[in-house]
């Protein structure tokens, strides 16, 4: 009971300080959506009877001017298909936000990664421009959403290619070619937005966004290596990913300053960097073998000395 009361109190705070309540003063339908979603979330989590009156007092519609909280971690309960209370096209807050941001991407080349683009996107979905108030004014979520979508597209591309190779419809590419093509495919997704991309990069580097942007970057690089067939279970796992991350980042920066037709300078730069990496790994394995030989020599010497000591002691 204590836990339930605590959770309800927390849910009440969430609603008080919820962004939608703060900023969407002029769009009651959206606020109602948030309120009912939060109510349902709470009741789902605890599978309790309908909320009693003390908890309803918590849902104070008057904002207290606090900054919006970060959403809690952990899997969100599913909203759809619950007891027939929702209509069939009910969607979660998260799904709605995804739709708005996807729609907003069309307006980025003109407006940049800004609230204006989001507002335009919301308009095309028939929502109030105040829906842009759900998001940060610097366009963080829009950019992170875009990166996430690009990564998902890349993942899908690589998955399809893997299927084709497995079915024998395509040849398995050598590693350097595979990496080159994967990075090129991913970077080409930036082309429609290339004018505004420097702005996006600087926002992705804001301390508040670094955990998300870093996580997206690392999982993309890990994906590429996974589909390239990397099966390393030793420190190479880290070396390979670090090297590829370096290649990706430097190529991205070159691309931002490239004015050659179809970015051919960028792809040539990429080819050279990948070739460098391949050479480096060969050198590294040679260094390692030499190192191992030296260690074995030393161990042999130590054992010989120890055996000599033992045999002298016995005598």
């Amino acid at each position: 009971k204590m836990a339930a009361a605590g959770a309800l109190r927390r849910a009440g705070w969430r609603l008080c300080r919820g962004r939608a309540v703060l900023r969407c003063q002029h769009s009651p339908p959206l606020r109602a959506l948030q309120a009912s979603a939060a109510l349902r979330r709470v009741s789902d989590e605890h599978k309790k009877e309908p909320l009693t009156s003390p908890s309803q007092q918590q849902f104070d519609p008057h904002p207290d001017g606090h900054q919006p909280e970060q959403e809690p971690q952990g899997p969100r309960p599913s909203y759809t298909g619950q007891g027939g209370q929702e209509s069939e096209d009910y969607e979660s807050e998260e799904q709605l936000q995804h739709r708005i941001l996807t729609a907003a991407l069309e307006f980025v080349p003109e407006h940049g990664w800004t609230a204006e683009a989001i507002a335009e996107g919301a308009k095309t979905l028939g929502l109030s421009v105040a829906a842009a108030g759900m998001f940060h004014s610097d366009g963080s979520e829009l950019i992170l959403h875009f990166v996430s979508e690009c990564n998902a597209k890349l993942s899908e591309l690589l998955e399809q290619e893997q299927k084709r190779v497995q079915l024998g419809e395509a040849e398995k590419k050598p590693t350097d070619e595979f990496l080159r093509d994967a990075v090129e495919a991913r970077l080409r997704m930036l082309i429609p937005y290339i004018e505004k991309w420097p702005q996006a990069l600087s926002i992705l580097l804001l301390p508040r966004n670094i955990p998300s942007s870093l996580s997206l970057l690392t999982s993309m690089i890990d994906d590429i290596w996974h589909y390239a067939g990397d099966q390393s279970t030793d420190f190479n796992w880290y070396t390979r990913r670090a090297v590829l991350t370096g290649i990706y980042n430097t190529t991205e920066l070159v691309m931002l300053q490239d004015s050659s037709p179809d970015f051919e300078d960028t792809w040539r730069f990429l080819e050279n960097r990948v070739a460098d990496a391949m050479t480096m790994s060969n050198t590294a394995s040679q260094v390692q073998s030499t190192g191992e030989a030296v260690v074995q020599g030393l161990m042999g010497a130590a054992v010989t000395v120890s055996n000599a000591e033992t045999s002298r002691a016995v005598r």
């Binding site: 962004r19 900054q67 919006p68 909280e69 970060q70 959403e71 971690q73 969100r76 998260e94 936000q97 995804h98 941001l101 759900m134 998001f135 940060h136 963080s140 979520e141 992170l144 959403h145 990166v147 996430s148 990564n151 998902a152 890349l154 993942s155 508040r208 966004n209 955990p211 998300s212 996580s215 997206l216 999982s219 993309m220 890990d222 994906d223 996974h226 099966q231 390393s232 279970t233 030793d234 420190f235 796992w237 880290y238 161990m299 130590a302 054992v303 120890s306």
Partner: protein
């Protein structure tokens, strides 16, 4: 932090194997892989010193079993896309030094080391079995089988160590 983060929970593009509690599985496989890798290096260290002594064949046999354990975890690591521990180079050296160091103390030292290490490894495996059973015994059936088998083999090593320690 104040100022909030992104409202959306952005998912990584990796597609985890269906229905698996990835964080728990990741930790389990990573730790086990590190453990078997370390055990390998310990036995390698012991062999380097005591390989030609009377207890050499015993150590070699236990070492071979650890090698198969490590091979299995390498496979699981690739299958579940788990990253290896970043401390591998450290375990490489530390394990070897522990094995060689205790072996330089003689047969008794080596066996005492084996007993201690195998005991803590078995404890560790037992905890993991408990965790997986609490999660979902059906879903993790294959992994549970592997861990149970390995735990039994580690206990064997422990008993062998006691046997030889007592004899010496």
């Amino acid at each position: 932090p104040p100022g909030g983060g992104a409202a959306l929970r952005l998912r990584s593009t990796r597609a985890p194997l269906e229905g698996i509690n990835k964080p728990v599985l990741d930790r389990i496989i990573r730790v086990d892989h590190a453990g078997e890798y370390g055990a390998n290096r310990i036995y390698a260290g012991q062999m380097a010193v005591l390989g030609r002594s009377s207890v050499g064949p015993v150590i070699r046999q236990m070492w071979n079993q650890e090698k198969t354990h490590l091979k299995k975890f390498n496979e699981l690591m690739v299958a579940y896309r788990v990253r290896p521990t970043v401390l591998l180079p450290f375990w490489n050296v530390a394990g070897f030094v522990l094995g060689a160091g205790t072996a330089l103390l003689g047969k008794k030292g080596a066996m005492a080391c084996t007993v201690a290490v195998e005991e803590s490894i078995s404890d560790h495996y037992n905890n993991q079995i408990r965790t997986l059973m609490e999660e979902d015994p059906e879903k993790y059936k294959e992994l549970l089988q592997v861990i149970k088998q390995f735990r039994d083999e580690e206990l064997e090593h422990h008993d062998i160590g006691i046997e030889h320690d007592a004899e010496a």
